[in-house]
């Protein structure tokens, strides 16, 4: 853990607040009748702005959550070997889920 990781955690929290707010608004409150239509989602995910917003949400959410997990793990251990193993595992999970999520989002285009 270092200054950059901590700063990114703070930045990702701010981005999450904004992106999550927009995401919930557009998903649940923007349609006139209040009902979620698959067609609307497909249409929305065909635009660059929404894809960027969702990718941002995905990456910031994953970073924020995985950094939090790593931070909790560090509270209970001081072994450098365990730290490297857990960090590698979390980075792999992060990259894997990011790739999977981005692929899912781009699939609508």
């Amino acid at each position: 853990m270092n200054a950059w990781a901590w700063l990114l955690q703070r930045v990702s929290a701010v981005v999450l607040l904004i992106a999550l707010g927009l995401h919930i608004w557009f998903l649940h409150f923007s349609s006139g009748d209040g009902v979620l239509h698959f067609g609307d989602i497909v249409k929305r995910l065909d635009t660059g702005v929404f894809i960027t917003l969702d990718i941002l949400l995905l990456i910031c959410g994953l970073y924020h959550a995985l950094y939090g997990l790593y931070s909790i793990f560090l509270d209970f251990t001081s072994g450098s070997k365990e730290r490297i193993v857990v960090l590698t595992l979390l980075v792999m999970v992060g990259i894997g889920f990011s790739g999977f999520g981005v692929y899912g989002l781009l699939w609508f285009r």
Partner: protein
């Protein structure tokens, strides 16, 4: 207020006891009685073998910190009436090795102080006396944080110190900040390097446990957050 207190007292003598135990005792009350009076009464009239630490009796020396009814407190500054119960559990300060009864070994605590070099080192290029304006923000903040008496209450309340013995802890980090924030100090960057480690400032999760229990109303969490900001500023080359 009742005329007596029901005391549940932590006892452990490593020369006799296999493991710690609790003793149930009754202590008569008097007006303005403090927890220190309770343990002194026990030692004077009920069991002379009870061990505990104290010195000044006025909240200045920081040696009588105990864990009273689930919270670290200074025994001399904690009024029995403030606890609002006649059932009182008295234990030694958490997160430190127990020497005997209510006495803990402060060595690990001060080892961490040593790591941050807790003394002022004057810059060579400045000529004393240096003018620090009395109402400057910097001065006010440092003055407030210098009230720390190293009693260990914050260390005993810190859940990070409880889970990881390498964590520097709130008092050492608070002390480090009072020196790093002082522009006259010659080894600010060196100090910042010591705290800019995984088991330095980055272990703090901003839970404010330390601030909650500080008998001097200091907020070490604020110092730690400021240290984190300084670490970031150092990375981008602003803090020199």
């Amino acid at each position: 207020m009742s005329d007596h207190l029901n005391i549940r007292l932590f006892r452990f003598n490593p020369e006799i006891d296999v493991e710690p135990r609790f003793e149930e005792l009754q202590v008569p009350t008097f007006e303005n009685m403090a927890i220190l009076d309770v343990v002194m009464h026990i030692q004077n009239y009920l069991d002379r073998s009870l061990s505990f630490r104290f010195s000044c009796r006025v909240g200045m020396c920081g040696s009588c910190a105990l864990y009273v009814n689930g919270r670290p407190r200074l025994a001399c500054r904690t009024q029995v009436s403030a606890l609002k119960t006649q059932n009182i559990t008295i234990m030694p300060l958490p997160n430190l090795p127990i020497i005997r009864d209510l006495v803990v070994d402060m060595e690990p605590f001060f080892e961490k102080w040593k790591k941050i070099k807790p003394y002022y080192v004057s810059r060579k290029d400045i000529v004393d006396p240096v003018v620090v304006h009395p109402d400057s923000n910097e001065r006010e903040f440092i003055d407030e944080m210098l009230d720390c008496i190293a009693c260990g209450c914050c260390y005993g309340a810190c859940s990070m110190a409880a889970t990881n013995e390498e964590f520097l802890g709130p008092p050492a980090l608070n002390r480090a900040y009072t020196l790093i924030a002082d522009k006259r100090d010659a080894i600010r960057v060196e100090r910042l390097k010591v705290v800019d480690k995984s088991y330095g400032v980055w272990r703090c999760h901003t839970q404010f446990n330390c601030s909650e229990v500080c008998p001097k109303n200091i907020v070490p969490t604020r110092s730690i957050q400021n240290l984190k900001k300084r670490c970031v500023l150092k990375k981008i080359g602003v803090f020199k």
